[in-house]
């Protein structure tokens, strides 16, 4: 019997290793469904899932949509553009209105950290965090871990280098929490304004020198750099960023042989990663996308399956 007892998936921080493994193992079994002719099983038939995306996203949203559909759940998409001057319905009212339609799960992406947790305090459905502000993106970290496990088998003492705008990255945070829990070694790399010293307190190493950090790396995870950060003077220019932190073939050769290249997407070719590296056979970027569906199916299966439990912690 499975011991997955979470009511929501809000953060990696709230999961223990057994929860994480349950998700990865379930995803492994569900992956086969996407290779069939009829890519569907009836497991979540009659369940309703709502994609509530307050930030634009085609990739994550359609990944969740496919995952739900492959399990025969019904899914509807709600997107709302946000701007800093929001007029109209509050988040709470939007969710309460949706709840009147009796969904089983709400998948929420929001620009405010803590928003999915806030929603979980007053809603009846299961809440899945699809990315909240700079805080967490649990399913991304899970699919990243799944991809790493496919390629490297074991996490213990694996050297994982995460490069980019760590300060603002929810992908980085979720990965840091997950990889630490499973015993991997994490090294963070980026320009100083985007990688404050306090990140050492997460138990990771930090470095401002990508070349040095790549020595002995087994996994290289590149993060997207946003132009808005340049505008806010977090780094002087894209040119400078590229010179110091772009993953080129020369830099890749400093890592361990067979190091894998990862990126949560969408990639900025020629900025944080060169085209050759993005397309090289060591890149698992497309596998990550494929695995995203299996992981999201696993999450939906584990949360929505079984008797409705009392709220777990």
């Amino acid at each position: 019997m499975l011991e997955f007892k979470q009511r929501h998936l809000l953060s990696i921080q709230n999961l223990d290793v057994s929860d994480i493994m349950a998700i990865l193992d379930t995803a492994e079994s569900l992956a086969e469904i996407s290779t069939r002719e009829v890519k569907k099983v009836p497991t979540l038939r009659g369940k309703t899932v709502v994609n509530l995306f307050f930030e634009p996203s085609t990739r994550t949203r359609s990944s969740f949509e496919l995952a739900a559909k492959r399990l025969s759940a019904d899914i509807i998409n709600f997107s709302q553009q946000t701007s800093s001057v929001v007029k109209g319905e509050t988040l709470k009212d939007t969710v309460l209105n949706l709840e009147a339609m009796n969904p089983d799960a709400l998948i929420i992406r929001h620009s405010c950290s803590g928003a999915p947790y806030f929603v979980s305090t007053f809603c009846r459905s299961h809440v899945i965090n699809a990315g909240d502000g700079s805080h967490e993106h649990p399913t991304q970290a899970l699919l990243d871990a799944f991809t790493i496990r496919q390629q490297k088998k074991n996490f213990k003492n694996l050297r994982v280098v995460i490069v980019g705008d760590i300060l603002h990255s929810r992908v980085a945070r979720s990965n840091i929490f997950l990889l630490q829990k499973v015993g991997a070694q994490v090294i963070l790399v980026g320009p100083p304004p985007l990688l404050p010293e306090e990140f050492k307190n997460f138990g990771t190493q930090i470095s401002y020198d990508l070349d040095r950090a790549l020595e002995g790396a087994d996994v290289i995870m590149m993060l997207r750099i946003q132009k808005e950060r340049q505008d806010a003077n977090f780094f002087p220019s894209i040119r400078e960023y590229r010179n110091l932190y772009c993953l080129t073939e020369k830099r890749y050769n400093l890592a361990n042989k067979d190091a894998i290249i990862m990126h949560p997407g969408p990639i900025n070719r020629g900025v944080e990663i060169s085209s050759e590296m993005a397309d090289s056979i060591k890149s698992v970027i497309l596998k990550q996308v494929e695995n995203g569906i299996s992981i999201r199916m696993a999450v939906l299966y584990l949360l929505l399956g079984g008797k409705e439990r009392e709220t777990a912690d």
Partner: protein, 184 residues
């Protein structure tokens, strides 16, 4: 839950003889062995299926492929389970469309597992026929399902538990009837 063993209804010898007999029956009914495929239902159906395939190979020198079916995703009691079942892989590396599929399971009881297995097979392809082989038929059917090949018919009460143990994972070959021990 404490269990009390009430009876040992089959030992290794009886199991072997049942499998031998059923294999003969399979060979009698299936003229075109090349079109036969075996699908074992997790968990013990897999080992029984492999043994049958091995027996066919010894007798007729033909390799009948064996696939593994996990029916967790097709259960009809999904929404009522207190705790979930771990879903494991379905591994059927061969096409099943147009094939004669021999479904293998250890115990036939209410028939719901077999119903789920058939639904799953139909999502994977369109078999020409499905035959069912079970080691034990313990009665209490809730659906119109019947086995084509039965090792032993075993009348039981609902309270009783039929346990099939196979040497591949249980250290010994035997079939037991047990009962939950009375609460003190």
């Amino acid at each position: 839950m404490e269990e009390k063993i009430k009876a040992r209804v089959m030992d290794a010898g009886k199991i072997k003889r049942s499998l031998d007999r059923m294999t003969t029956e399979i060979l009698e009914r299936n003229r075109n062995l090349k079109n036969l495929v075996i699908v074992g239902i997790r968990t013990r159906g897999i080992y029984l299926g492999k043994r049958i395939s091995q027996l066919i190979k010894e007798l007729e020198k033909i390799e009948v492929p064996v696939g593994v079916l996990d029916i967790t995703l097709y259960r009809d009691d999904f929404a009522e389970l207190e705790t979930q079942h771990m879903v494991q892989k379905t591994e059927i590396d061969f096409p099943i469309s147009k094939k004669d599929v021999l479904l293998v399971d250890d115990v036939l009881f209410t028939g719901r597992t077999i119903r789920a297995a058939m639904d799953s097979l139909f999502d994977l392809g369109r078999p020409q026929s499905i035959q069912l082989l079970v080691l034990i038929d313990r009665g209490h059917r809730e659906l119109p399902i019947r086995a084509d090949y039965t090792g032993k018919v075993l009348p039981t009460s609902r309270r009783e538990i039929v346990q099939v143990r196979l040497i591949e994972i249980d250290e010994t070959d035997e079939v037991l009837i047990t009962e939950p021990a009375k609460l003190e």
